[in-house]
């Protein structure tokens, strides 16, 4: 690997410098190509000005907020209704999956259109209305060409306010979800995705629970209807319209389209039960006989999105595992060749969302892979000091990524509703660069030490027990507990 010379070159690349060979004159000059010095990194042009979209805010008659952002270069409109709170707030205990079923049932028929009529109308409009409910928010949304926007909005409103919840449709959806859960039992990534949060948060915290065969089977039509009546309320919703419209023109269209959606609902307070006491570091091994790779998930409960450490954590994680050239991937994929890719992230929410590092490691290198994960985690905790270059690249990457996040009406819609869900100020994006720039190398180590507690690290590994248990034990990293694919302790 050629890992010696690039540091110097790259520093040059990040600071603008003059060049004799750029510009149209280079094209005109005969033999310009011969004179080109390819050993010199080309100069960087002037940093483009950050153009953050603007939006207007108002309140609809039913109490829902309305946000409108104009973008007129293409005849497109992204429309969404976003609800504050989700499955973690509104699903009854033991009924994981009711939120998803309630959302899916919106497509199954209204007082005036059955499921086929809804489907036919949307097909002819060339678009689709999607409804989803996640852990802490939900949405009903579509993207349409400008001319089809009012007609699509009418269908969305019909689905949201006039759904009939036909019982046979619920049984069909339930059966198909059970098939999906069955299929997931063979997917190592899906297994780790279910067991890791359960290990971290247990069954008493919503973050630890996911839909199971038992919960899906137990859900009744009444519970689905009750969820719908409770959840899809304007009092906890924001309506966002982004694209080829104006606030003045679109407001009456929205008021008329959503006229049947009457006032009600309040914003949830997002109070969660306490996270269970941390357990001493443990390897939780789930057997998947014959697996060619071991799927790793290492982590802990992290801080909520509103932590003042947010920016320092973003920089820290970018250095650790947030980019292709971050420490974890540069070492475990690129240098060691143990994986097709490893990474880390904080899943920030209203509550203590997890920090998780991981990836798929070739079976026979499971022990060596674990050793390298631990080495990089100890590194970011201070064993390997953060260099000035690492810090600079992480900050540049985070800040200069912004313009691309406003490239489409859907992306702007997502950015605006994201701020609304997290209660962040309208000037967030203007302040972002400053907040990231202020992060120091000391901050990086400070937040790593605060949130990555190796003495209590949960290490979930889905792999071929017969071949990897011994080598994993021999690493001495932590004792091994055997779990089944649902995360229950195997005696």
């Amino acid at each position: 690997m050629n890992r010696r010379a690039f540091a110097v070159l790259c520093l040059l690349a990040l600071s603008p410098q003059p060049s004799a060979l750029t510009g149209p004159q280079a094209l005109l000059a005969q033999g310009a190509a011969q004179a080109l010095d390819r050993t010199k990194t080309p100069p960087v042009g002037k940093t483009p000005e950050l153009r953050v979209p603007t939006w207007t805010k108002s309140t609809l008659a039913n109490g829902a907020e309305l946000i409108v952002s104009e973008k007129h270069d293409l005849p497109l409109v992204a429309f969404s209704i976003t609800f504050l709170g989700g499955a973690d707030q509104f699903e009854p205990a033991g009924r994981r999956g009711v939120a998803g079923l309630a959302a899916a049932m919106l497509s199954e028929g209204t007082k005036t259109r059955d499921g086929e009529a809804l489907s036919n109308a949307l097909q002819l409009l060339g678009t689709n209305v999607s409804a989803t409910v996640g852990g802490e928010s939900g949405s009903i949304s579509f993207v349409a060409t400008t001319s089809k926007f009012p007609a699509t909005l009418d269908i969305l409103a019909d689905m949201m306010t006039n759904s009939t919840f036909p019982a046979p449709a619920l049984e069909r959806l339930r059966a198909n979800r059970l098939v999906a859960l069955q299929q997931a039992k063979a997917q190592p990534g899906a297994i780790a995705g279910r067991v890791f949060p359960r290990v971290l948060y247990g069954d008493s915290h919503p973050y630890g629970r996911s839909a199971t065969e038992e919960s899906i089977k137990a859900i009744t039509r009444d519970e689905v209807v009750a969820f719908h009546q409770t959840f899809f309320k304007p009092g906890r919703a924001v309506v966002t319209v982004v694209g080829d419209i104006t606030p003045a023109a679109v407001r009456p269209v929205v008021e008329k389209g959503l006229a049947a959606w009457t006032a009600g609902g309040t914003k949830p307070d997002f109070s969660y039960p306490p996270v269970p006491a941390l357990k001493p570091a443990t390897i939780y091994l789930i057997d998947k006989a014959g697996a060619a790779q071991s799927t790793f998930a290492l982590g802990l409960p992290g801080p909520p999105r509103n932590t003042p450490d947010y920016y320092a954590l973003q920089v820290m994680n970018t250095i650790l595992g947030g980019m292709f050239q971050s420490r974890l991937n540069a070492n475990i994929r690129e240098e060691k060749g143990y994986s097709y890719g490893v990474s880390s992230q904080f899943n920030f929410g209203k509550g203590p969302g997890p920090f998780r590092a991981g990836g798929d490691i070739v079976s026979e290198k499971s022990d060596a892979g674990l050793t390298e994960f631990m080495k990089e985690l100890r590194g970011i905790l201070g064993a390997r000091p953060v260099t000035a270059e690492e810090l600079q690249i992480a900050k540049e990457a985070l800040v200069q990524r912004l313009p691309g996040t406003f490239a489409s009406v859907g992306a702007i819609n997502g950015a605006v509703t994201g701020l609304w869900i997290q209660g962040l100020p309208d000037t967030y994006y203007q302040q972002y660069s400053k907040a990231i720039s202020a992060v120091t190398a000391d901050d990086v180590v400070r937040v790593a030490k605060k949130y990555i507690d190796l003495d209590h690290l949960a290490i979930v590994i889905v792999g071929d027990k017969a071949n990897i248990e011994g080598p994993l034990k021999a690493t001495g990293v932590a004792p091994i507990a055997l779990l089944d694919i649902d995360g229950n302790l195997v005696k």
């Binding site: 080109l36 678009t127 050239q325 890719g341 489409s408």
Partner: protein, 467 residues
């Protein structure tokens, strides 16, 4: 099938972009068919490099995309997986650009980079803030002109291990992950250039030598086999000057041989059973069809949209809604440069056999062949094309892929317009005709079943086991 170098996320983007077809210059609120457009300028350097430029100042970013007209179909038996392995090598640094600089000048400044390999082409791309366009051209030109200066066996070996991990992650350790490899092996004869999967076999990946890499590079990575597309926020004159400056002195290569690809038809059905690490069986019914250059592909794509997807589509309605024997069903035309396949994929509900599902699907297909679709079915299948095209215009990279696809495969960067028009021109009679022409008894029926449950295959007695 396409294989990616760095992560899966880009795959979705690529598919979205290639499925999308519209017009940056169109006046808002007016989208007529004639407004479907991506403005571009195309020219060729004396060394043969094909260049396409398209400015869009909406967002201060640029997409740089190079397609090399080489893919797994250019490989030889015994060296399968080579084009994709080589793609990985292209990210290990070149004569004047040490390893690591590429990521720093793309991802490290808020952009991204990746590559992908298909049967037909190998694709490299960067998205960058617009002030980093020159450095992106420097990097791409250096690996086109000077890759071999720093290549050694150690670099090749390192990438070999990563590619093997990619194969494990995407195929060997993934339920249903080996399906497309098995299907290619069984639709195309052993010597046919589409017989093997892009990822290649573990054995062949181990066999690739440093000399193989060098010969492959010299033949296929010459400017006369490359299509450079730049889309986004840049000044055209400036970009032309940089292109000349960085690519102009790379020498033209030898003429590139194109593999002889014979069309394939199966005389009799092939029935196969694959025992996999799955919990739920699945049925794949696949017919050989046509590639990019045969216009029947448009009607075949519309046929796929008509047959399955929305609840009103006849296959979905019959299998998932009316009888509820299936949890899901899909129907799609997959189009490569020279060949294509039409896929029907069915996932059963418990207690419903693949044998019964195959018969139920055949009954629906038989009715479509006899009656053809209604005009409304065709209209519903194509009504989303305008939105799909206009949404594609929101992505510089998506536009770059469309322009490059036209330039490389159809010698016309503006082919997106033809593609759009031909899709909207498909009639019920066209759909009926292609259904009868291609959905014949000459097909592969592959049952994927849980290990030890070969009896769950469709018509198990007639089905041959594959490994």
């Amino acid at each position: 099938m396409t294989t990616q170098t760095r992560s899966f996320t880009w795959l979705a983007l690529l598919l979205l972009a290639c499925g999308a077809l519209a017009d940056a210059q169109a006046p808002a609120a007016v989208t007529t068919k004639s407004a479907i457009n991506i403005p571009f300028e195309a020219y060729t350097l004396p060394n043969g490099l094909n260049v396409v430029l398209s400015t869009d100042r909406t967002t201060p970013t640029v997409a740089v995309n190079i397609w090399y007209h080489v893919g797994s179909k250019n490989e030889l038996p015994g060296r399968t997986g080579f084009a994709h392995l080589f793609e990985h090598v292209m990210f290990t640094g070149s004569g004047h650009v040490p390893y690591g600089v590429h990521d720093k000048l793309t991802e490290g400044v808020g952009g991204s980079n990746n590559g992908s390999t298909s049967n037909d082409i190998t694709n490299y791309y960067e998205t960058i803030p617009s002030n980093y366009l020159e450095s992106a051209l420097w990097i791409e030109s250096d690996r086109m002109g000077f890759l071999l200066d720093t290549l050694d066996i150690a670099k090749l070996n390192a990438q070999r291990e990563i590619v093997k991990n990619e194969r494990r992650q995407r195929m060997d350790n993934q339920p249903y992950g080996r399906v497309f490899e098995i299907l290619s092996n069984n639709i195309y004869p052993a010597t046919h250039p589409y017989h093997w999967d892009v990822i290649g076999s573990m054995e062949d990946l181990s066999a690739a030598s440093e000399e193989d890499v060098k010969n492959f590079f010299r033949l296929y990575y010459a400017p006369n086999n490359a299509f450079l597309t730049i889309v986004g926020d840049f000044d055209t004159a400036q970009a032309k000057a940089w292109v000349q400056n960085y690519f102009g002195d790379i020498p033209r290569g030898k003429p590139v041989p194109r593999p002889n690809v014979a069309p394939v038809t199966l005389q009799t059905p092939k029935r196969l059973t694959f025992e996999d690490q799955v919990q739920v069986p699945r049925l794949y019914v696949v017919w050989p069809t046509v590639g990019e250059k045969n216009d029947d592909r448009f009607a075949l794509a519309v046929l796929g949209s008509i047959l399955a997807g929305p609840r009103t589509a006849p296959l979905t309605k019959a299998l998932v809604f009316d009888t509820q024997a299936a949890a899901s069903v899909s129907a799609d035309q997959n189009t490569n440069e020279d060949v294509g396949e039409f896929f029907v994929t069915i996932t059963p509900r418990p207690d419903h056999s693949l044998t019964d599902l195959e018969a139920a699907a055949d009954a629906v297909i038989q009715k479509m062949k006899a009656d053809g679709p209604t005009l409304e079915q065709v209209q519903k299948a194509t009504a989303g094309e305008e939105l799909s095209f206009v949404r594609g215009l929101e992505s510089n990279l998506g536009k770059a892929f469309q322009l490059a696809n036209g330039a490389a495969i159809h010698a016309d960067p503006g082919y997106f317009r033809t593609e759009y028009q031909k899709t909207l021109a498909v009639t019920p009679a066209d759909v009926k005709r292609v259904a009868n022409k291609y959905l014949t008894s000459g097909r592969v029926v592959l049952s994927v079943v849980p290990a030890g449950k070969a009896d769950q295959a469709s018509k198990p007695a007639e089905s041959q086991s594959v490994k």
